[in-house]
């Protein structure tokens, strides 16, 4: 009897664990969000907003983990999701321009084709998708080539952050010793 009871007890415990193990674990490459203006959500609750919300990007952050990133982990010449997991999502709260193309406000996916000296950045209208595995050229809105800026310091985690530039803003992508900047202007 004692044995049956302890078996039942163990079974209950393990069933509990099974139920919980179906819940999603923490991602190895965690999701993050960047706003422009920078820190907009904090400024909002502190009543310190001086400029309207223009853009935000939602992306996952893979780690370098002592690997050489560009040219090896991320192969040159291939479409990369500019992050990890879900395709990276950028949202514009106002109409913007990239590479002289007018872009309506709304959500888009961002991809990149990295190379040694330049990256091709792709804005694509297929949303809520995973990675670049089914990247569909026909859904491109605009592409732009941007130069690679080699950094002297190394970024462990992939980072996307906005920065004010002229009358618009740039989206900086940084990982390992590489930086590229994507310039957006306001319409």
């Amino acid at each position: 009897m004692k044995n049956i009871l302890s078996l039942a007890f163990l079974l209950t415990i393990s069933l509990g664990s099974i139920a919980q193990s179906k819940l999603p674990p923490i991602d190895k490459s965690p999701l993050d969000i960047s706003y422009f203006p920078d820190n907009y959500p904090v400024l909002k609750i502190q009543d310190k907003i001086t400029e309207p919300l223009l853009a935000r990007v939602i992306y996952s952050r893979p780690q370098k983990n002592e690997r050489k990133v560009f040219g090896e982990l991320i192969e040159y010449g291939k479409v990369w999701r500019l992050g990890a997991n879900e395709a990276t999502e950028i949202e514009f709260y106002v109409p913007v321009k990239l590479n002289n193309t007018k872009i309506k406000k709304g959500r888009y996916s961002l991809y990149a084709i990295p190379n040694d000296e330049k990256w091709t950045i792709i804005l694509n209208k297929e949303n809520d998708t995973w990675g670049s595995f089914r990247y569909d050229l026909k859904k491109d809105i605009v592409r732009m080539d941007v130069p690679v800026q080699k950094q002297t310091s190394v970024a462990e985690s992939f980072s996307l952050l906005f920065e004010k530039a002229g009358t618009g803003f740039v989206l900086n992508a940084l990982w390992d010793d590489v930086k590229v900047s994507l310039p957006f202007s306001l319409q």
Binding site: I13, G16, S17, A19, Q20, L23, P24, P25, I26, D27, P30, L31, D32, I33, S34, Y35, N39, Y40, P41, V42, K44, I45, Q46, L53, R56, I58, R61, E86, A87, N127, D128, T129, W130, G131, F133, R134, S153, A155, E156, S157, S159, L160, L161, N172, L174
Partner: protein, 214 residues
């Protein structure tokens, strides 16, 4: 460069300060944000969060289904974007003022930014019609029930909840679960009437039923 033990001690203090999920006066927005964040991370551009962000879709794993070609629709039905604090041996829900989420006090259902829920179609919650769109979601926990509120103050940090922007509130029962769950989790599950939004952390689980109107 600080000696190692000082760095570890200052990291610990920062981690404790950054992980709090109750709206205390010493919580994150009151800190010199950029400076303190730099210290918890090796990344000089944007720190990685102690409580990382995550996203859950309904249908469950919609983006994965989209890439395998199994998605039945172009758009998902709902998604939630939230940050995932860790239990780390602490008491999460209790009547004590010192617990992370005190009974009766609004909690952002996550960490960092306010938790965002987006409905791509109209839904019905507790008999009330909720138009498609983006909202923030928060709760007021109690021992036996949670009050769940949908609010229009989107793109805000989760500590200053403005109840005047609530669009609806509903009460749901609290269920106990064992073993304790380390990381706060929001995930959708299918239900006969639509979907459930499961909210689970520590020894507590609450379920918000979402009815999809046709």
């Amino acid at each position: 460069m600080l000696p190692n033990f000082l760095r570890i001690a200052s990291h610990t203090v920062l981690v404790l300060a950054l992980c709090c999920c109750t709206p205390k006066s010493d919580d994150r927005p009151k800190l010199p944000l950029a400076d303190s964040l730099k210290k918890v991370s090796p990344n000089q551009y944007v720190s990685t969060d102690q409580s990382p962000m995550d996203i859950s879709y309904y249908p469950t794993e919609f983006p994965q289904h989209k890439f395998t070609g199994d998605a039945k629709a172009e758009k998902p039905v709902a998604r939630v974007i939230y940050s995932r604090p860790h239990k780390k041996g602490r008491t999460i829900f209790s009547s004590s003022e010192k617990s992370l989420c005190s009974y009766g006090k609004p909690w952002r259902l996550g960490a960092n930014e306010a938790t965002e829920i987006e409905f791509f179609v109209p839904v019905i919650i507790d008999g009330k019609n909720v138009p498609a769109g983006r909202y923030i979601l928060y709760c007021i926990p109690f021992a036996d029930k949670w009050i769940i509120a949908l609010n229009t103050n989107i793109d805000s940090w989760g500590l200053a909840i403005d109840a005047s922007k609530d669009v609806m509130r509903t009460e749901i029962p609290v269920q106990q679960q064992a073993p304790a769950l380390e990381d706060f989790t929001l995930v959708f599950a299918p239900a006969s009437y639509g979907a459930d939004l499961i909210m689970a952390w520590d020894e507590v689980k609450a379920v918000l039923p979402l009815v999809f109107s046709q």
